[in-house]
Amino acid sequence: MSIDMSQFHEAFFDESFEGLEIMESELLTLDVGAGDAEIINTIFRAAHSIKGGAGTFGFMNVSEFTHVMETLLDEMRDGSRDVTQFAVDSLLESIDVLRTMLESARDNTEVDEEMVAARYAVLNGILKGEQGDSSVKEVEAPSLAEASTEKPVGAGWEISFIPHTNLLMAGNDPVRMFRALSELGELRATVDYSNLQPFNELVPEDLYLSWLLTLTGDILQADIEEVFEWVEDDCDLTITPLAANVQSEPLVVIESEPETIEPVQVSAVTSVKEQVSENSVADNASVNKKPATKPKKATESASIRVGIDKVDEIINLVGELVITQSMLDQVGEDLEANAEVASSGAECGSQKTNADILLRLSKGLAQLERNTRELQDGVMRIRMLPISFVFSRMPRLVHDLSSKLNKKIELLVSGEETELDKTVMENIGDPLVHLVRNALDHGVETPDIRLAAGKAEVGTLSLNAYHQGGNVIIEIKDDGAGINKAKVRAKAIEKGIISETDHLTDDEINHLIFAPGFSTADVVSDVSGRGVGMDVVKTSINKLGGRVVVESEEGKGSVFTIRLPLTLAILDGQLVTVGSESYVIPLIAIIESLQIDRAQINAVAGKAEVYKLRDEYIPIIRARAVFGLEDNKADLHESLMVIVEVDGAPVGIIVDDLQGQQQVVIKSLETNYRKVETMSGATILGDGTVALIWDVNGMVNVHKKKLNNGVIKA
């Protein structure tokens, strides 16, 4: 039976990566000294599973590497080795290596052998030579060698099999063993029942019989032993060659073996050499090099693991949908019947009135609406994963960074179970890591500075996630130094982002850190200053249809709040009209909508119009001007303005009309047309027309460009 093992690889990789995460997070909670046995056991179990699976599915390098880690963990588990910081760190680094090895196995790419070898050396070093490098690979060797050196011995064997009375207790059955033996050769069995107890003393579960078996044929002793493998402690077993036909020349057989192997190896080497010379490759070293990247598997598809409860829920909802459909069917039939009756002019007593049918129709439609909404939610939930997938990376990051930066930081994580769309999840990881790095690097101070400032020595970084009105909120909060506004302002002036005369609120200054080109070079360290600025963080989040804002108080700390849509497939939108077209503004971006009071409009000299909203001046953008349409109401009297948040600051966009709010399915513009700066996508409305979805950041950018180019006059 041949089974394609690759079909199980995906599940294997999934659970192995999960296992690595478990190992990592448990290692981080492990106290140095005599570690908690339960925690070590959990880590051990994860390693053990990876080893077992890797062996079974043919990833021997992974299996061997995990074996060494497992040996170390085993010694920690049984208490023969103390849990040292070095060992923990080393195991953590080994997890990284193992992850790379698994990724290479998954993607069919070459592993960095040097890195692996270096890790082996460290781990074996910890094991202090009790387990030398070579012994690792020899573990499986003996059994193979043993089996292959034994040669069939002529005519057969005599087997004396005297079971202990309890042999049946573990589910073993002599009859099955005999059947297995009879498959090896010709079996004759003689039963000895002299031990059989008198009937009234007989215990039915005990075995009183014993056998003398003769097995004839060319049979390996090992094959016979294998049949009795599980019962060797539950019986007295003697296996002797049948006396008359013993062939006593096994030495010759063994001696001849190396000779048969050697020529093969030689020929293999020579053939490679021949090939090399044929191809006139000068560099001999290249012979040993395997191709860097093997071709990827053709059938690779992203998959997702879904809880059975979610699937059941959908099946349940589909069931309800079917009921609704049959209910509406019935309504249709009744209407048809009525129509027939009406056309034939006949009267029928049992006929249902149209009013009655109409009532049922509206009831059915209401039910359909609910079914559709619930089904939509249910299907969306399939793509939802708990944010712990991303959060679980953080303890390790904080652990590594705080030791690197000589800071003491406690990480508090809450809301890990908050669910988020898979694609959003995949793309939020890096921005989140950057924000955490940033908080550790620039936010939390070193212990001496903290103590001097009268703060607790240990800084706190808290990660929190929760749902709020169709959005996912992620907060990254630290109790560090906060944003140094004077410094940020000075830097922004130096970089030409703002001018010296600009008057900015504290909030606006804080948000300057997200401005493109803003890099606080003199405070950058190798931790967060890796060429990725906060503007990239902001752009990534915006791309996901989300927003990031920062609140900061000097000396007290900062809070970064990321607001993300639950899903990328559906959007809560506000429909607006500009010219003859309907557009969708993502609700997530809208603060409020209002009717303009002409008196509050000011035109700043040389700049755009601003609107005085309560005590704040906000810039006005005319959507018509951005789209190059003719202005229909120059004075903006009683025009409608949608106030959106862009870079943490409100901006008013003038639209012709406000329509309703509704959920829209997002279709990509880039795949179906091309990228449009002011639009993030498109959707199809209930009446079949296409409506474009605004990208408010893009709107502001285009407005600024047009303003600078003098296309829009102030």
Binding site: I3, G52, G55, A170, G171, R176, E205
Partner: protein
């Protein structure tokens, strides 16, 4: 054809074992730890139990012991899947009442051969 209970916390191993056994015409029930397996064993009957050793909640050794304490499973073949080629784990399984063991890594053919050994 036999009814076989497969117990392994690793989904890939479980899938592989179940797929192989189903391919040979057996009926397979999959569970992911000892607690689940014990519940399945109590609510149905099986001709063979194949269990991993290292599992959360309840390991394979404890499961074997618990199964043997049930009247219906006193003689049912129970095989443990173990990565240890050392005798220690095999013997722990035996002492708990396991019929035999299969050492990981194994291939589908070895699995079927081993199952055949106890199913007759």
């Amino acid at each position: 054809m036999a009814r076989i209970l497969v117990v392994d916390d690793s989904a890939s191993m479980r899938q592989m074992v179940a797929f192989t056994l189903k391919g040979a015409g057996h009926e397979v029930v999959e569970t992911s730890d000892g607690v689940e397996a014990l519940a399945s064993a109590k609510s149905g009957s099986f001709d063979l139990v194949i269990t991993d050793v290292n599992m959360p909640n309840m390991d394979g050794i404890t499961l074997t012991r618990e199964l043997r304490a049930l009247p219906n499973y006193r003689f049912t073949p129970i095989l443990t899947l173990t990565t240890e080629s050392s005798n220690e784990k095999k013997m722990a399984g035996k002492q708990a009442g396991a019929t035999g063991w299969l050492v990981k890594p194994f291939n589908p053919d070895q699995l079927l051969a081993t199952a055949k050994k106890v199913l007759g």
